[in-house]
């Protein structure tokens, strides 16, 4: 009936709305994003059970525990994953864990450096001193995806003979007394796709029974529910919303909490557009029947 010649003004309008030019939708998304980024208010955030699981697991880490923190994303997806990365790193370093960072993505190591620099400076302001090579290390990038993960199960030092700045890992104080997943207290991955959380579950968690949590983009998060239910993952964060939930629990509202205003507004806009589109189509069908 949409192809029929519209007769009334109402019909013309509805026909136009049903086939709305996407540039109008793009404009509405852009305008709402800008407006809600400027507004200063915070919506109440309700943490999901998955985010609660993640928070509890990370906060069970004791000073001196070895945590393997794999940063498997590049600059393109930083908008979604950087807030997760930052708030988790802050928690780990504040708790005094030995944070061992590495990446399966070639453009991951600069992001790891950026995270360490920010958090170490923040903690220094609070009077907490964290030293490179003693409390934290950036092992850099390792190619090979699944093979690289499996290789970590055998030996971290052999997989990464040097750290990102070229120092031999075997001589670093942080690397003493442990070498594989049998001695790792917690495995965390922040990832955008393949290789990422699913590959770590298959190659590291299920093989070595290491406790694991993950942070992923919103698109990937539906894939992690089966692993959460089966107990492979103790918790996970999905996209910016996940980071906001974590910030809420850690009581450190930041970029993700702020981003929730924009995300809420855009979700509401999409839902309204979808509902109105359906209403318009339904009305046109009714008019055609008459």
């Amino acid at each position: 009936m949409i192809n029929q010649e519209p007769t009334s003004r109402m019909q013309k309008f509805l026909t136009m709305f049903v086939a709305l030019d996407r540039r109008w939708i793009f404009s509405a998304v852009a305008i709402l994003t800008v407006i809600f980024m400027m507004l200063d208010f915070n919506l109440p955030i309700q943490p999901s059970p998955q985010a609660e699981g993640m928070y509890k697991t990370i906060n069970s880490v004791q000073p001196g525990d070895v945590v393997h923190f794999s940063i498997d994303y590049g600059p393109s997806s930083a908008a979604e994953l950087w807030p997760q990365h930052l708030c988790i790193l802050r928690d780990l370093m504040r708790r005094g864990a030995r944070v061992v960072c590495s990446s399966l993505w070639a453009d991951g190591p600069p992001t790891i450096e950026k995270g360490f620099n920010i958090v170490v400076a923040e903690l220094a302001e609070e009077g907490i001193k964290r030293e490179r090579g003693v409390d934290y290390v950036n092992l850099g990038f390792k190619a090979g995806d699944r093979v690289a993960i499996a290789s970590l199960g055998a030996s971290f030092k052999r997989t990464f003979p040097t750290d990102y700045s070229g120092r031999p890992t075997a001589s670093l104080p942080i690397m003493q007394g442990w070498d594989n997943y049998n001695d790792v207290k917690l495995l965390i991955t922040i990832g955008v796709g393949d290789p990422g959380a699913v590959e770590y579950v298959q190659q590291a968690q299920s093989r070595y029974r290491v406790t694991m949590v993950a942070g992923v983009t919103a698109v990937i998060s539906p894939q992690l529910y089966p692993y959460y239910q089966s107990g492979n993952l103790q918790g996970f964060l999905g996209g910016l919303a996940g980071a906001a939930e974590y910030e809420k629990m850690a009581n450190t509202p930041g970029r993700a909490t702020k981003g929730m205003n924009v995300q809420s507004a855009i979700h509401v806009l999409i839902v309204l557009l979808v509902l109105l589109g359906n209403l318009a189509q339904f009305s046109l069908r009714m008019m055609a029947r008459r």
Partner: protein, 338 residues
């Protein structure tokens, strides 16, 4: 006694013993070194110097145990399934070769591929094919290339050019060979146009931008995406929609399926994507392999069902009751074995 000895020397008994040995030695539930050692030594104790057949004694079985130490016990279920699959494949292949029919359910997405090429022919415009963005070591890329062979063949029959855009150089080289071979097989070698085989960039979004450029400038009438895709899936499919192309997608990347379903005309989901080349080629061994995969599911489903029923009954019984504990133990054992 004689009968018992005859039985022990029989082929069936040897197979049963070997099976028991493999199960005991290789199953995680029994794989603790201590248990394996005890079982292995007991076989020698209980049946010292037993002649199972010519030259095979209980000691030989003991040596077989040591060989099992090299087997990755965690992967035993996968190994068993693989053996099942190979057996099913040979049985079905034999049946198909003898003229037996293999019935497969209809997939609208497969017909859509042929329709999409037909439409491009009617409009006198090319077909754009993308075999995913991963390298040749990804099985999805191989599945996509298998589909490309059929797309290129049909397109050559219809005298319609095919543009192939790849993100990896090796994939490009193989696609060139595939399209060339398909055009030749269709009797139209001139349908292979080297300039239509394009490597764009190894960088994900540079590749995406390049494909979008092809869609908007060269206006292919049909876009066929078959392979492994990530965040670029929606960007490609939306641009394809804007260019007015018929779009058929196929991927086993679950996270990208919603985008393809929303923006494309047809989508081959998961195993449909892997089976597509069998549907298109209709070659007996390929069809047999698809049917063997279905039979394999029939093996897996009862095990899943038993697990689900056991855990459901266990959860509905009063906590700590005898039966509940038995069922929990059974489910734990099942999980351990699998």
């Amino acid at each position: 006694m004689n009968r018992a000895l005859t039985f022990l020397q029989s082929r069936a008994a040897r197979l049963a013993l070997a099976g028991a040995a493999i199960f005991a030695g290789a199953t995680p539930a029994f794989a603790a070194d201590e248990t394996t050692r005890v079982l292995a030594s007991r076989l020698g104790e209980v049946l010292p110097d037993l002649q199972l057949s010519d030259g095979i004694t209980s000691a030989t079985v003991g040596s077989a145990y040591r060989l099992l130490e090299d087997f990755n016990v965690v992967k035993l279920p996968v190994f068993v399934l693989l053996i099942f699959f190979v057996i099913f494949f040979f049985v079905l292949n034999r049946r198909v070769r003898k003229g037996g029919e293999v019935e497969l359910r209809r997939l609208p997405g497969i017909n859509a591929i042929e329709e999409a090429i037909g439409r491009a022919t009617e409009m006198g415009r090319p077909v754009l094919f993308i075999p995913g963005i991963n390298d040749i070591d990804d099985i999805q890329t191989l599945a996509g290339i298998n589909i490309l062979a059929h797309v290129a063949y049909i397109a050559a029959e219809y005298d319609t050019p095919v543009i192939v855009a790849t993100r990896r150089s090796v994939v490009l080289t193989i696609c060139e060979e595939v399209v060339k071979a398909a055009s030749l097989a269709a009797g139209r070698p001139e349908n292979y146009i080297p300039n239509n085989m394009r490597y764009l960039s190894d960088e994900q979004f540079a590749f995406t931008a390049g494909v979008n450029g092809i869609m908007l400038r060269e206006r292919p009438a049909s876009c066929i995406y078959q392979g492994c895709f990530y965040s670029e899936s929606l960007i490609l499919a939306e641009t394809g929609f804007v260019s007015g192309a018929i779009q058929v997608a196929g991927t086993a990347n679950v996270s990208q399926l919603p985008f393809f379903v929303a923006a494309c005309d047809y989508t081959l989901i998961g195993e449909e994507f892997y089976a597509a080349s069998a549907y298109l080629s209709k070659e007996p061994p390929v069809l047999a392999s698809v049917k063997a995969a279905d039979w394999l599911k029939l093996v897996i489903m009862p095990v899943m069902l038993i697990g689900v029923v056991a855990i459901t009954i266990s959860a509905s019984l009063p906590a700590g009751s005898e039966w509940s504990l038995h069922l929990e133990e059974f489910v734990r054992l099942l999980k351990e074995i699998l």
